[in-house]
Symmetry: C2
Subunit: 511 residues, 2 copies
């Protein structure tokens, strides 16, 4: 190595150490938030918010220090970083882009947004409870203005303001391409749902709406998470009101689920979903923890891992051929007489409904499409918040076929916009698409996945995902990762095929 | 205010803000440790240690920055700080003494001690399991050398090396005074224990060694903690293997207890003990959180609050007159026929034994006296670690009347020395003494506490402690606090009176 290269290697190591140290603090803040959402006493809320804000501030200061800027500058022409898909190259590419992103945002804008987000979520919560959109509108206006300013400051020449916002969650995503993909998807989904609702064979879900003991639900949830490969030596499963997955260290991943006494799928599919996120987190390379090669590629890719296990694996006949006997052991009185087919049908019931988080797999993406169109119009100035509630209801009626009777069950149902998460919703659908496409590619390579699942052999699929997704970290963009792993750019076709196949069984649809 | 005073007020505010910010980080580290001891997955240990060390390092840097030194210098002659018992005066007094203490210790010594402590606890654990003192001896030698160097660097002209170490836990404590107090206590305890063992009336504890359902123990523990005043809006009770109390914010105090299926007192008195610590933490002034007026006076005073509720309240006949019916409701099959007197006797059984943490209230302080004498001899160089095991066994035989059959049940039973906690043990006995003396003073002022306790009225005592102890924070030394609250300097007499009174009932002793 030349003298310059030796220096650059040392500079790189020092830069990485800063981000590793910052990760120690940000995972610490995540731990505080995990605790807040699992059992912190109510009195602790105010101080907890101060602690988290202080830690996040320290992290921000570390990541945007002038020294980091100088080090990135020094490393700009480093030979070892030339390949953006190498670990070093990807690290420098993302650290530089994050750094420049942060530097474009004045800290008073960041602080105003953070403060509006905390306040906004409180106002949203109150407005939803009071079913009063007017209460929410002023803070929504404020947040939209802040996010518009943020997008304008961040946008590159080739980006719209909305794309600049989207970029934070799904780096490199293009609104035009998304619009096209979502339009294809929408047409196919609307047709599929029409066929399902026209089918003479409908699903009776009374089996899964009985009363289910929480302790048994907890045991079964633990069992299926472990079966698909979630490592309880390096993670745990807890209860919360809004399920999530959070990573508190390279070998400490926490997944959280919810138990409904009268609706069994909530805990089962909630657990599979979060465990899917957990497998991704546990499958990353520990030696790159806190740096891009040890991070997720995008939120869409993260969601693909949860949806794959929840839906592509968890809702199949093969999965329930394997798990029905165990499930019946856990609920002998309520499910003692249930058959595999009955359970499989119950877990794949389709019913157009008002609330996204309760939606079935077929209609779910339509909920996202509504939001994707509305939030673009809001940010672009094509839709005023005065007209939003009616636009929302019209869109639901047109796209999903149901009209919300109230703001609480309509435009006020999601926390995202109040929290400043604009450009986030599309990642849910991107995840669904990627899940189906990755599953198909795995099947092409591994052979008869159904038979493996029927035998409870989840490891081949898990290892395939680990190799093609988890261990890649952020050395690829989402698009690159999908194309390399599946041989195709992302498309709606695999998801539609998968849904047609599964719902075909359940609703006796014609091919 | 003069211009200089205005400046000094601003400097003081800035200094306090630094320590408030440091408290945000140190309570964050405490949260990480709480999580580690309540359910962190095993895989998380290594990274968790890195996180905690990093946070503790940041705190140390903040508290010992040159700017803090300059600010303390600027405020040295500030009129508002003249009275060391005022909030401002006490703040500056303790911050300055901590600062100078820290500055006397080179950071390489601090780091070597921290590293030896982590390693030492691991070695201790292995040595105890293998019942092999020789395994432990080298790291004990290393730790003693480090602590001796620490003490030598810290000691003032009027202090011995041991006193300099003691000072960290019990500021201002004098070894000579302790030796005198402990000698008085020892003589009285030995006599009391002789009378108890000679008594024809012995205690049958079979009632409390049956099998007790954990869920019922948890409910009863929660109930008694709440009854004595622990605020569950501002705290919670969890399970752990080594009970403790930790404060994660001004309104977030966590207490932890242990449930033994075959020994009921473990959870009951463990909970009362930790809840007593918790009442102290919850009773402090929130606006001084993270600063001396919002901190505990000393470890001895902290222990006095736990021991007071555990023993002076929790082991009385009056307490069980109140709680026996509720206890029987929780354990109808095992305790359905138990009487108040039977339970009271069981909870006050005395039996000289080998293990400190399992010792009854009468013999407990003798275990401490053994450690106090041995650790002084070790630090002073009067006892070599070669001779320690025999010295330990001889002391147990002489003081408590039992000889350990093994190192594991003898000299290897406590983690403290391996962790560098030398000078810590005496605070346990100081707490016992202070508890009895404070209880007497409260009774003098409040009247018939027994009747209140019998009625389940714990608030008068709680409020008295809040006023005389909790809200004082660290504006008084332990000695000053006890003298002001009770009208007397600390002595062994109240504890001995209290034990004689209670054991007199249980063992029919003559007055």
């Amino acid at each position: 190595m030349s003298h310059a290269a030796t220096n650059q290697a040392a500079t790189f190591e020092s830069l990485c150490q800063t981000f590793r140290d910052a990760a120690k603090l940000s995972t610490t803040a995540d731990t505080l938030e995990w605790d807040e959402r699992t059992g912190m006493p109510r009195g602790g809320a105010e101080y907890r918010a101060e602690q988290v804000a202080y830690l996040r501030g320290l992290v921000h200061d570390m990541q945007t220090s002038p020294r980091v800027g100088e080090q990135l500058q020094t490393l700009q022409d480093w030979d070892a970083a030339k390949d953006p898909h190498s670990d070093i190259g990807a690290t420098l590419k993302w650290l530089a882009s994050d750094y420049h992103r942060q530097c474009k945002l004045p800290s008073e804008l960041v602080q105003r947004t953070a403060s509006c987000s905390v306040r906004g979520q409180g106002v949203w919560d109150a407005a939803r409870k009071a079913d009063d959109y007017k209460l929410f509108q002023p803070v929504l206006n404020e947040m939209l203005a802040l996010k518009r300013e943020t997008g304008e400051r961040l946008q590159t020449e080739s980006q719209t303001v909305y794309e600049a916002l989207l970029d934070e969650f799904e780096p490199g995503a293009k609104a035009a391409a998304l619009t096209k993909t979502f339009a294809d998807l929408r047409a196919d989904l609307v047709e599929l749902i029409r066929e399902i609702s026209d089918s003479p064979r409908q699903v009776d879900t009374s089996l899964i709406t009985q009363t289910f003991d929480k302790a048994s639900q907890q045991k079964f949830s633990h069992l299926i998470a472990e079966a698909i490969g979630f490592d309880f030596e390096r993670g745990r499963l807890d209860e919360t009101s809004h399920p999530f997955c959070t990573t508190l260290g390279p070998s400490d991943c926490r997944i959280l689920t919810r138990y409904e006494s009268n609706f069994l799928p909530t805990s089962i599919f909630g657990t599979l979903h979060e465990a899917g996120h957990g497998l991704y987190e546990q499958g990353m390379r520990e030696d790159w923890f806190g740096l891009p090669p040890g991070s997720y590629a995008s939120l869409g890719i993260h969601e693909s891992q949860s949806r794959l296990w929840e839906n592509l694996v968890g809702r199949t006949l093969a999965f329930w051929e394997h798990f029905t006997p165990t499930l019946k052991e856990h609920f002998p009185t309520t499910l003692g007489d249930a058959t595999v087919e009955q359970l499989h049908r119950c877990f794949n019931a389709v019913q157009p409904s008002l609330i996204r988080v309760e939606a079935d797999e077929a209609t779910y993406n339509l909920h996202i499409i509504v939001r994707f169109e509305l939030e673009q119009a809001l940010i672009g100035g094509d839709l005023s918040t005065d007209d939003l509630p009616v636009a929302w209801s019209d869109a639901y009626e047109e796209v999903i076929g149901v009209r919300p009777p109230s703001a609480a069950d309509g435009v006020l149902q999601d926390v995202h916009w109040s929290a400043g998460l604009i450009g986030y919703f599309p990642t849910y659908t991107l995840g669904n698409l990627a899940a189906a496409q990755l599953y198909d590619a795995a099947k092409d390579e591994l052979g008869d996945l159904d038979t493996m699942v029927r035998r409870g052999e989840f490891s081949p699929l898990h290892q395939w995902l680990k190799k093609h997704v988890h261990q890649q970290g952020r050395t690829r963009t989402a698009d690159e990762l999908i194309t390399e792993a599946t041989g195709q750019p992302l498309s709606a076709a695999p998801l539609i095929r998968s849904l047609r196949n599964r719902y075909g069984q359940v609703y006796d649809l014609n091919d």
